[in-house]
């Protein structure tokens, strides 16, 4: 058993007996009572032949019905039984040659049949040995032209290299995926599926079908091995086309029922010669594929969820094969071949960058690095960037970014003002300093406003306040958390308080130990009352410092010296006289007797002449003031007056000035 994380590769695991019929012949000799008739027992060693049981398929790569960047990996299928690829003999002289091959065909290169009798699943004229050894009555087959066989199928030498056995740790679920003995056999394809390309050379998705085919009886059809002495090409043109027969699908679309009903061999149309380069514009065809593939994936998904349980597997498989339904045998003149398909699935190669390319192309930096202020790129990086799609240019101006990672964001204050505030999330480009406890205490904010900060540039930094609010709202959004917080406070704080009190009391006076043990029913109420009283007495110690009820007022600078004297002076009587009298008759009587100067409201002491003199004085004062003002304003002109009047609302003084100016 290999260690976790490791696996062992075996070239092949050969079965003791290959599939087929066997006769067990037994004879017993030298028995004393004469010979015993020999016994022939017939044994059939069975093995999958035309269809692969689903439980034998552990995994496929690329995953069925997936789109992705699979262009640099060879498709593979992992089978559960380790001996499966070697259970039938392709060539009796070479038991190491697998009878299974995984071929990958693009849309238009081959045709996948509907269910057909297994006798029809091989090229007509090929005689399969022991045809009675069948695991199923009907199966599907892949029809391919000679061109595609020569272009895509593996050679005999390839087939041998493309199957092996892996022994993995059963506990390593990533490699195992549900096998029981740790041995799996792997069959690999010989083709890197390439995406299609448009006129500009941009990759567009292309759909592929992977088929696990049975090579029995048809090993001679495989392409001949390339001679050793030729010059090999070490590169390929991804835009090349092996064969594209999709142009025929239009004709097929007129009579689809003929094909579906299995009448593909009966050809109502004259044969059309289609060479290796079909008269189909690759680019258009590829674009059509690109637009169609997502619908097909959706159709496959729909089939998988909507069909009944019995029909789902066949419907899904049928939907996957939808791009390979062209009846090519009816249309091409070159030889075509049929191979039984044991398992098939389709996938789409999108041409996206691979994991490695994506990782190498990453823009690396600390948070707060904008794409614009990267260090200059090395020539190698620039060359690399030419080959990947450039990141789109930012559609809006770069954000206001501080050295500390803060971003300037529009902020609407509670009063409704629109201002700019600084914000930074939990990600900082610098190490930050965390508050450390001082004397066992840490500052704790109770509302978010306590965390608002005004920075030297006059703007607010609301990062921490926003964090506080988010934490508060997240807690409030979950009733369970709110409940837990409240319960924690009520139960444990209360219990702790009582326990603590008991301990303190016990410590101070041993007398009352029994009392607290008995849990006197009135004790709780008594403690509560005592506590309230104590708290009311000294709230600053128990709860928090309180604000005084009355704030002291502004000091009066003039109110200095003796208060009595100040009052007496203010009321206009003599303090000394009152004091003198008070010695004889008492303070209250003396104050009552003291005469305070006052003005009789009913008789102000002014007559008509007095009023006239006052009014004249007032008029004179107003006139002199107004004249001074008019002098300062210069000569009154119509323009000046208009401007002033329109600039602000007129008040009483303006009206007065106007009336003065209008006077001659």
């Amino acid at each position: 058993m290999p260690q976790p994380g490791f696996f062992i590769l075996h070239p092949a695991v050969l079965p003791p007996l290959t599939a087929g019929g066997y006769t067990l012949h037994s004879e017993i000799e030298d028995m004393p009572h004469g010979p015993i008739a020999p016994l022939d027992a017939h044994i059939t060693v069975s093995s999958p032949r035309f269809t692969m049981p689903p439980e034998q398929i552990l995994s496929t790569y690329p995953p069925a019905n997936r789109a992705g960047s699979f262009q640099a990996s060879l498709p593979q299928i992992v089978l559960k039984r380790r001996t499966l690829p070697w259970e039938r003999l392709l060539d009796p002289s070479d038991e190491h040659l697998p009878w299974l091959a995984l071929v990958v065909v693009a849309e238009g290169e081959a045709s996948l049949s509907a269910e057909a009798r297994v006798e029809d699943c091989v090229t007509p004229g090929t005689a399969l040995p022991h045809l009675e050894d069948r695991d199923t009555a009907t199966s599907v087959y892949l029809s391919v032209t000679q061109t595609v066989v020569n272009g895509v199928f593996p050679t005999k030498g390839d087939v041998r290299l493309l199957a092996h056995v892996r022994e993995v740790d059963v506990h390593d679920t990533e490699l195992m995926g549900g096998d029981d003995d740790g041995f799996v056999s792997v069959v690999i394809a010989n083709r890197l599926p390439q995406p299609a390309f448009d006129d500009q050379g941009n990759p567009i998705p292309r759909k592929y079908l992977a088929c696990l085919i049975n090579l029995e009886g048809q090993a001679a059809v495989l392409p001949p091995p390339v001679p050793d002495h030729v010059d090999f090409t070490f590169e390929f043109e991804a835009t090349a086309v092996v064969q594209d027969l999709r142009g025929l699908s239009d004709a097929y679309a007129d009579h689809p029922d003929l094909f579906v009903m299995g009448a593909g061999a009966v050809n109502p149309h004259p044969k059309t010669a289609v060479g290796p380069s079909a008269a189909v514009d690759t680019a258009t065809a590829a674009v059509r594929t690109g637009s169609a593939w997502s619908q097909e994936i959706a159709a496959i998904d729909a089939a998988s969820v909507s069909a009944t349980a019995e029909q789902a597997p066949s419907l899904v498989r049928d939907a996957m094969a939808s791009g390979w339904r062209i009846p090519i045998e009816a249309y091409v003149v070159e030889p075509t071949y049929r191979f039984p398909v044991l398992a098939h699935w389709s996938f789409t190669v999108s041409g996206d960058p691979t994991f490695e390319e994506l990782m190498k192309g990453l823009d690396v930096g600390l948070i707060g690095t904008l794409v614009g202020d990267l260090p200059p790129k090395t020539p190698a990086q620039i060359e690399k960037e030419k080959h990947r799609t450039p990141p789109p240019a930012p559609a809006r101006p770069a954000p206001e970014l501080a050295e500390t990672g803060h971003v300037g964001l529009p902020h609407q204050t509670r009063r409704g003002d629109h201002v700019d505030a600084w914000f930074r999330g939990p990600a900082s480009p610098h190490p930050t300093v965390r508050e450390q406890p001082v004397d066992g205490r840490l500052p704790l904010a109770h509302t978010s406003d306590q965390l608002r900060i005004v920075v030297p540039d006059g703007r607010e930094d609301i990062s921490l306040a926003a964090a506080f609010e988010i934490g508060r709202l997240l807690a409030l959004s979950q009733p369970a958390v709110v409940n837990a917080l409240l319960r924690w406070r009520q139960e444990q704080f209360g219990a702790e308080r009582a326990a603590r009190l008991a301990a303190e009391v016990n410590e101070s006076i041993g007398l009352l130990a029994g009392l607290f043990d008995q849990r006197h029913p009135g004790l709780g109420a008594l403690i509560g009352r005592q506590f309230v009283l104590a708290a009311a007495d000294r709230p600053d110690e128990v709860l928090a410092p309180t604000r005084p009820l009355v704030d002291p007022g502004r000091p009066l600078t003039y109110a200095r010296g003796d208060l009595d004297k100040l009052v007496a002076d203010g009321l206009g009587f003599s303090l000394e006289a009152v004091n003198r009298v008070a010695e004889q008759i008492g303070v209250v009587a003396a104050l009552a007797e003291a005469r305070v100067a006052s003005v009789d409201e009913r008789d102000p002491g002014l007559d008509g002449a007095g009023f006239a003199a006052l009014r004249a004085g007032l008029d004179q004062a107003v006139t002199s003031l107004a004249t001074d003002v008019l002098k300062q304003r210069g000569t009154p002109g119509p323009n000046t007056v208009t401007v002033t009047a329109s600039a602000r609302k007129q008040d009483a003084l303006d009206q007065l000035l106007h009336s003065l100016e209008e006077q001659p």
Binding site: L74, E174, V226, T239, D363, P429, V433, V482, A544
Partner: protein
């Protein structure tokens, strides 16, 4: 002294006041590792909150320009920010000043317990010990790689590994920093948090990607011509890296179809692969298997032990120094003018 008179005495009064005003919670929760003041559920929830679980993405990255397409951004976690999160959560249900003063008494204990719980949120074995620094760092990765390769492996080490970038490091290596959180926030955004300051970070392709992988060198304009190659591997010692390219022969006219028969012969012809002369699909598989790709993030020019030195911030924070030398940045941070 009768019970009643004692309970009304000044001595009892002062004891009561002392008990109430200095209330601290004794350990109440012994569910798991040791004794705790904060109940287990609450502690777990606060720790997850501390690891930014549930925090809206717009609050993690305030502007999309901070995390452009196809980018990775490393950061320090601002502990004051995460502390503010916890304070906000704790403030729920504090109605009276009494609640608040008690919470203030307790807060240092709560904080240190949540610090501890933070490291237990993600149950994993074999990672390095708790970092002494208490600093939490991490990265945000926004890339197609996140959506296309779910389950990628992320490992961080506190120092440069002398074994080299491609060495296989055991899972339980003590230099490895504990991974506090690894989660996809969006289909294409990955958040990772480490307990400590990493010197190098490895991001590795998921292991299920062990297939026959062929490297493709693109050429041409537009680049549609590909030259496939594989790195040869010593079949006696597969860990050994041979710096060479073995070109893979192609079948002319068939895009992507490879001639493995002749590739195998070319590999056998190389002495450094130590392959037998027989055609052996296991040896061939060993050559053609593509191991998961590992991207290493670290300092390329100046291998040092601390990330703080690797990603040179142009202004450093010097908190330990006196008031006079406090940098502008710090004053900015604390809001002092």
């Amino acid at each position: 002294m009768t019970t009643t008179s004692y309970l009304q005495s000044a001595e009892f009064l002062s004891t009561t006041v002392k008990a109430v005003s200095e209330v601290t919670l004794a350990p109440s929760d012994t569910d798991d590792d040791g004794e705790h003041v904060v109940p287990f559920d609450l502690r777990q929830w606060l720790a997850r909150l501390r690891l930014l679980e549930g925090v809206p993405f717009a609050y993690l990255v305030a502007d999309s320009a901070l995390l452009p397409l196809e980018s990775i951004r490393f950061f320090y976690v601002d502990r004051r920010w995460t502390d503010a999160l916890v304070q906000g959560a704790l403030s729920v249900g504090t109605v009276t000043s009494d609640d608040r003063s008690r919470l203030e008494q307790l807060y240092p204990v709560v904080r240190s317990e949540v610090d501890d719980a933070e490291r237990r949120v993600r149950p994993v074995g074999g990672e390095g010990a708790k970092s002494a620094s208490g600093t939490i760092t991490g990265f945000l990765l926004r890339s197609k790689a996140v959506s296309g390769w779910p389950g990628m492996h992320v490992r961080a080490y506190d120092r440069e590994l002398p074994e080299g970038d491609n060495a296989i490091i055991p899972e339980g290596d003590t230099r490895r920093l504990r991974l506090l959180r690894l989660e996809r926030l969006a289909p294409a955004v990955l958040l990772a948090l480490f307990d400590g300051i990493p010197a190098i970070v490895h991001i590795e392709e998921p292991r299920r990607g062990i297939q026959f992988g062929i490297r493709l060198d693109a050429s041409g304009n537009p680049p549609t011509t590909f030259a496939p190659w594989i790195p040869p591997r010593d079949t006696q010692d597969p860990q050994k890296v041979i710096n060479a390219k073995v070109p893979v022969p192609c079948r002319p006219g068939s895009p992507g179809v490879l001639d493995f028969d002749h590739l195998n012969k070319a590999l056998i012809a190389r002495a450094d692969t130590h392959m037998g002369a027989e055609i052996d699909s296991a040896e061939f598989a060993l050559e053609a298997l593509r191991f998961p790709y590992r991207q290493v993030f670290g300092d390329v020019s100046n291998p040092v032990g601390r990330l703080a030195d690797v990603f040179q911030p142009s202004v450093r924070i010097r908190a330990a120094l006196g008031e006079g030398t406090r940098s502008l940045v710090e004053r900015f941070e604390t809001g002092l003018s």
